[in-house]
Amino acid sequence: MTTESPALTTPRVESRERVTVRFAGDSGDGMQLTGTQFTKTAAVFGNDLATLPDYPAEIRAPTGSLPGVSGFQVSFASTDIRTPGDAPDALVAMNPAALKTNIGDLVPGGLLIVDEDEFSPANLKKASYTTNPLEDGSLAAFQVRPIRITHQNELALADVDLPSQQKFLSRNFYALGVVLWLYGRSLDTTIRWAEEKFGRNPEVLDANLKALHAGHAFGETTEMFHTRYEVAPAPVPPGVYRHISGNEATALGFLAASVKSKLPLFYASYPITPASDVLHELSKLRNFGVKTFQAEDEIAAMGAAIGASYGGHLALTGTSGPGLALKSEGLNLAVMTELPVVIIDVQRSGPSTGMPTKTEQSDLLQAMYGRNGDSPVAIVAPATPSECFGMAIEAFRIALKHMVPVIYLSDGYLGNGSEPWRIPSLDEFADITYSYAEAGEGDFNPYKRDPDTLARNWAVPGQPGLEHRIGGIEKSADNGNISYDPGNHHRMTLARTEKVARVANDIPDLEVTGPDSGDLLVLGWGGTYGAITSAAERARNEGKSVSSAQLRYLNPFPKNLGDVLSRFNKVLIPELNTGQLVVLIRSKFLVDAVPFNKIAGQPFKIAEVQAKIDELLGLREPFEFEFAVPPAIGG
């Protein structure tokens, strides 16, 4: 039942430490935008937060269909949080398909807001509902709030001179208005954004603002909501903050590397989900001297980056797993010619095309070993969206100092996920140093090495007196000429390996969160940081002897890793793959680490890691994943 009569009582306000909201609708309903606007508002308010966009691969699947559902989850809190929440406390479903694909995740008793107008027989059929869930009692476990969003939006826009189809597009702002009211949030951030975005299109601006205000007013006047929720600002370190996604932070971080090294940034890439945003961001930055090159394919992007590196520039290429496979031949050329180049891999579900819009961590072994010959590269992996910034600088610091290709393993969860970011000063990051070779007596030897790092001489075209030839064929360590000498190949292969191993002298020790010894260490890498750290923290709060550590340097490992592992009785390694880090850990340290693997295209939930921890501590029966049963999708 809906009502438009004024509220007779004001709803009570309930304080929450953390709230998780999911917006779900048709991919044409603007759910990513709605979620982002809500997130920005929470961020500006001072909450800590984390987001998880979940969108279909199809740009526009048939309207109202199950494959066309797009979702955006945001968790915001008055405390420090590290994940976008295991399950939403509130779900906004703009149509039956969105309800069907998302209701399985809503916590029991959770708040469910639906656009009642969209539950027509035709739409129900598209979502494979045989009866209307709003009427058949199947939603009894939830606080269902059906609102005639479409109708009321239309009423609010009665005097706006736009075709009704276009008015329909403002529904998401109506819904946003309701939710902003529900959590006591100001409309200012969204109004400012809309004014900037639609400034040139006054009718559209007017429509969106009218919808937003109408939604907010509806919240205020309806008796439907008995409770409003308040989430206080989080105690965060002082500073100037912004909201940032992993891919944005990646792009900015690589530009920061350019600023810090004073070398121009060259980015060659071929569009691929979920890495394309990095290309989009960097291509805007011509004014910073950034040259972006949209190559004809992944191979060409790798080659162009090698060319720019050979030319002495800061050379970067970016891709996802299938693209890394194509780049492997070129990457090997960079290994052989010992040129500093960084390869971003925003990992996604594989193998092959896999699930392009879903996250996974399954390229670690490809990054380590996916090339012919003995072909060591350095590998780093940021652990949070905002950390992508600093790790990008790290990647080039290592590449330039050690004359080595570096693979930067992000993932779809980090790349598209977002969080508040205290804007740093560049002084907080290590300097990036490099040196070009200098002309000396006699013939120039491009493979003369720095005695400490084993980095080779870097001479770039344009330097007189240093003309030389490099290439993919093995070269003599003594003069850079082609060499098939058995001893030389043996020594050069070992030198390339040792050079990467010595990067360990130049990276920070692994930090343990919690006591530095105990019953159980939960060891992760990259984007699983949030779930692992929170799960271990909860275990400690329950009095369990559990610590956690997150590897950001995968090759080489931090020097203290073996020591850290030895101080715990058991080691649990959760990964979004079938067990890749665990292979490396076992083989290097002979530690009987226990794998914990999820390959569902979704990040770990904190509760899942907690349950596995309890299993290892002998506190529960073996843990099994419970995946929400997906609705049957025909055709």
Binding site: K291, A295, A304, G307, G312, G465, R469, G471
Partner: protein, 345 residues
């Protein structure tokens, strides 16, 4: 003047006078004795001093194959890369460092088979590279398999019953991809080869030169019927911009057009009615007709098929950088702040 990379620009230098010897390396040349590659190397080394470019600003980038050993033998910067990918590396280098003069050395397998895609796109972009494709119509380094330019029916190690595929015509590929300078020459005609290399190197924008190159081990005599000294005058059509199409020892034969079909007319006295070559004509039509003329039906055209001006990729990028800087001076802190910030005290 030193730049960030320590390079020097030509205009501000007193150019050293270089000779052929300055471009000879100490490396032992490892092509088979009698290989056509020697002639191409020699003409390149003869031509390079004429460019008056300091040798540190010259870069040779190659892929894989016999021809791709070339950079080892030229005393400049050199990069012997991987199969088919030389255009990609050259594109990255030239885009990052437009002041360098970059040559791509490739072959019919490297450039048109495994690297075919890159070849199309580097030409389409009009990056100011000089691409020399050694066409011997065979895979030499892998010891004698047919290549994408081998004639149909050719018997090779990998086609004992003869090939069943039609060959690519490199000039037509370059035309289709929109290369702004397209030429053909022959290893055995050293003077013509040197001049063609020179014109290609001087061209602003991408230059593509197909060199008919004899592989005396696996495809000996592939071009002998029209390229050998005794027959050359009657079987080759030397293209000269602005001149009528004539060939023969006394230039006594000519080419006319019958509709879209070229016709050989023997012993013509007057130039009337002969096709006049125009390498910069508005359309590619003439170049396409010339590219289709082949032995034995026609004399084989050599020289410059096409030579036009077009915007250069790396210059456009550099111009975007410059105008973006003017319009919006870089401020990294502003960029970090993004569109919305808040302060926590």
């Amino acid at each position: 003047m030193a730049t960030t990379n320590g390079t020097t620009t030509n205009d501000e230098l007193e150019l050293p006078v270089l000779t052929r010897k300055d471009f000879v390396t100490d490396q032992e040349v490892r092509w088979c004795p009698g290989c056509g590659d020697y002639a191409i190397l020699a003409q390149m080394q003869r031509m390079l001093p004429r460019l008056r470019i300091p040798k540190e600003n010259l870069v040779f980038i190659s892929g894989i194959g016999c021809s791709s050993r070339f950079p080892y033998y030229v005393e400049t910067y050199g990069f012997h890369s991987i199969h088919g990918r030389a255009p990609t590396i050259a594109s990255g280098l030239k885009t990052a460092r437009p002041e360098l003069s970059v040559f791509v050395i490739t072959g019919d397998g490297d450039g048109l088979s495994i690297g075919g895609n890159h070849m199309l796109h580097v030409m389409r972009r009009n990056i100011d590279l000089t691409i020399i494709l050694f066409n011997n119509r065979i895979y030499g380094l892998t010891k004698g398999q047919f290549s994408p330019t081998s004639e149909m029916g050719k018997v090779t190690k990998s086609s004992p019953y003869g090939t069943t595929e039609r060959p690519l015509n490199p000039i037509r590929v370059a035309l289709a991809a929109g290369a702004t300078f397209i030429a053909r020459s022959i290893d055995r005609d050293t003077a013509h080869l040197e001049e063609t290399l020179y014109k290609a190197a001087k061209h602003k924008g991408v230059s593509f030169v197909e060199v008919y190159q004899n592989c005396n081990i696996f495809n000996d005599g592939a071009f002998a019927a029209f390229a050998d000294k005794g027959v050359r005058q009657d079987k080759l059509l030397y293209l000269e911009d602005g001149a009528p199409l004539r060939f023969g020892a006394e230039r006594q034969h000519g080419i006319t057009l019958d509709g879209f079909e070229p016709r050989v007319v023997e012993d013509v006295s007057s130039d009337d009615g002969l096709v006049v070559h125009d390498a910069a004509s508005r359309t590619q039509n003439l170049a396409n007709i010339l590219a289709e003329m082949d032995y034995p039906d026609y004399p084989v055209p050599v020289g410059v098929f096409r030579d036009i001006e077009a915007p250069i990729f790396e210059d456009l990028i550099a111009a975007q950088v410059e105008s973006a800087r003017q319009k919006s001076p870089p401020n990294f802190q502003d960029l970090l702040n993004g569109s919305e910030t808040w302060e926590v005290s």
